[in-house]
């Protein structure tokens, strides 16, 4: 029996090979060149032909793999589970909610915008995409690890949480420190003191409010944190665009009086 995966990949193989032959004939290939992978004649545009043949080859290998391991084959599942074929679980397992599609889209979009805006933005998008590729791959692996979704979740968290939490913590703290420092450096000396005082008071009161109401819905807490994070980031971006306040070095040139760190703010 041909498995669903085999049909899909084999179809792609045919499509890619046909496209390669078509490209070969329309870009200067000889009669037999595109059909014989260039063994008997020219294949036309080497780059386009090569890419399409690579796509066909990859699809073919995946088709063979899919068939060899009997992916989504109910009979194979019945043999492993030692049950009657009618009792085999559905070939298509239920796919639950996942944040990775949205985050992957954000990564891809950040990369795309970075192409236009700035290499730093592109790099950020690239890192986001790579991290999510790992996360998504691990999620897919864990969902098929055992038949128990709860156990699968524990398996994944056991592997990834020791890495995720410190890394996310560092990144989060780093972003907040950079954003807040931009705001404080953009404001006047007195303004920076006021901003720090008011922000600290708001954070303290919010934490006190939340701690006094343990029954408060998780969504409300998440929304408050998300809103606060967005306010800090946006403020940091605007502050960075406006630039730092003027600093006048005490005593003229740096190091003239042996104390280059003495500065006077205005």
């Amino acid at each position: 029996m041909l498995t669903t995966g085999f049909k899909l990949w084999f179809g792609l193989l045919i499509a890619a090979f046909t496209a390669a032959v078509f490209v070969g004939y329309t870009t200067g290939g000889t009669e037999t060149g595109p059909l014989t992978l260039g063994w008997k004649g020219a294949v036309g545009n080497h780059i386009a032909y090569g890419i399409l043949i690579m796509a066909a080859t990859t699809s073919g290998l995946l088709a063979i793999l899919s068939q060899s391991f009997r992916d989504a084959d109910a009979e194979a599942a019945a043999e492993i589970l030692e049950v009657d074929i009618d009792e085999v679980p559905e070939a298509q397992i239920s796919t639950g909610s996942s944040p990775w599609p949205l985050f992957t889209a954000l990564g891809v979009v950040t990369m795309a915008v970075g192409l236009v805006a700035h290499p730093f933005v592109f790099g950020t998008g690239l890192i986001i995409s790579l991290v999510i590729a790992i996360e998504w791959t691990m999620t897919n692996w864990s969902e098929r690890a055992t038949g128990d979704p709860e156990k699968n979740r524990e398996l994944k968290e056991g592997l990834l949480r020791p890495i995720e939490i410190p890394v996310l913590g560092l990144v989060g703290i780093g972003v907040i420190v950079v954003a807040v420092s931009r705001v404080l450096l953009a404001a006047s000396v007195l303004g920076a003191v006021w901003i720090a005082t008011v922000a600290g008071t708001i954070i303290f009161l919010t934490a006190y409010f939340i701690s006094k109401r343990p029954s408060i819905p998780r969504g409300v807490v998440q929304s408050i944190l998300a809103a606060g994070f967005i306010v800090v980031i946006v403020s940091g971006i605007f502050a960075a665009i406006n630039g730092e306040r003027d600093f006048h070095h005490v005593g003229g040139e740096h190091g003239e009086h042996g104390d280059s760190h003495m500065e006077e703010d205005h």
């Binding site: 669903t4 049909k7 899909l8 996942s98 795309a112 915008v113």
Partner: protein, 503 residues
Amino acid sequence: MKNESTVVERIVTTTESATLSRYWMVSALIGLLFSSVAGLLVSLERIDLSTASIFSTADDVFQFWTAHRVALVLIAVLPLMIGLATAIVPRQVGASRLVFPRMSAFSFWVWLFGALIIIIGFLANGGVGTPEATSETQSVALTLVGVLLAIIGICGASTSVLTTIVAGRAPGISLLNIPAFSWSVLVAGTMWLATLPVLVANTVLVYVDMRGRAPVNFGSEAVVWEQLSWAFTHPQVYLWVLPLLGIVAEIISAAFKNKISNPFLFTAIGLTAAAGFGAYAQTYFDIGTPVFEEAFSIIQAFIAIPAVLLVVAFISPKIKDLKGFDKQTTTPAVLATLSIVLLLHGVVVGAVHVIGPLELATRSTVSAQIVLTLGAGVLACMAAFSWWGELLIGKSISQRKILISGLTFHFGVGIFAVADFLVGFTGQNDFTGVSEFAAGTDGSSWVETLNVISFIGSLLILLGVIAAIATTVQHVLSKTPATGNPWGVDAPEWKSKEKEEVA
């Protein structure tokens, strides 16, 4: 833990086809609103061609003129079709869900961000360039990136739907036995996947030339639109609305309780798709060879053949069977019939505009053909919402409100198209390839009168779209539950019940 997700979490993490379908359709309606407003402003400017009414230069008009077309295809019509297919196709072929639900979710989000970037690009004096190159190069590049992202999203979603049809069918359902809508989506999606990558290649070509160095050939802002315009004009527009044939077939068959012959209909849909393939019709690469001109004209004439077949398929079995019409289905049947009428008018106008001696190939007639065809697609989606609305949103549907929205939109498209078709004979240019909006116009009172009529059509289109959005929002917020199978039809989509999403 797994059932404690918040509303926001559920919104951003869903992979359920019904929910994704709603996302696609609601977003597409907003895109349609943007496109309609852009079209209305251009029509308003055109009323008096002698002076600048609301735009200061021809380049400004060009920005909105191209925004209208790009948004109509990439942000409105295609997403509407995909939204419908995402919800209905799995039910019709007996699949428990789309075979790649997470890829479908990814595709939606990428498309949504791409659509937003396109809109921002246009509003930031970018878009797809201007004839006098007064646009912002950075914003043009941003728009091109948005176009690429939107196409990636559309291709991903199409792949998921197509694979569901090919590999996710329930046992016993062969390809030739699937419902007409699923077949039309299969054919349309295949053709989208065959042509959209060509548009990607055009866009990348322009982008690389524009960004890599001083533009030398393709990337100059003055010629960007010429590289991309084939995807937003005749004959490619037929491909964007191809699923409307399936929608109409399903509704008309049920309304008259008289099933349309599958092989006949399927062949007609396939022929229409073949004739609608427009990736070859790229004016930028047209080196003036007679072969190109003749091939183009022959293919435009050829599209009349499947059109005639469709008329025979849809109408002839029904004329003798009018007594069998189910009056309960009036709204979807009327809207479906009007949409096929608009499409046939679009085909006729398309065939007329390539007749050499009439010299209509670059006139406003092109605009009439595009609006007729894409308008037919939107109207078919309204008919589909009327027909499958309870499946799509799980609430009871007010048919009267949908009918009012649809009729307003239909009359708007009709009035606009008639005026633009006629004004094309006076020499008024479509914008492609010209730098002056009124170039070639004879400036007679006829032109001004027809342009006023065209503006009224645009206004009605906008009102129809606003009414459709209001109706959709009202239904989504409604608390009246769905009644089950409101038409009492024996169709697979009404029988199947999608499995609950496992959180």
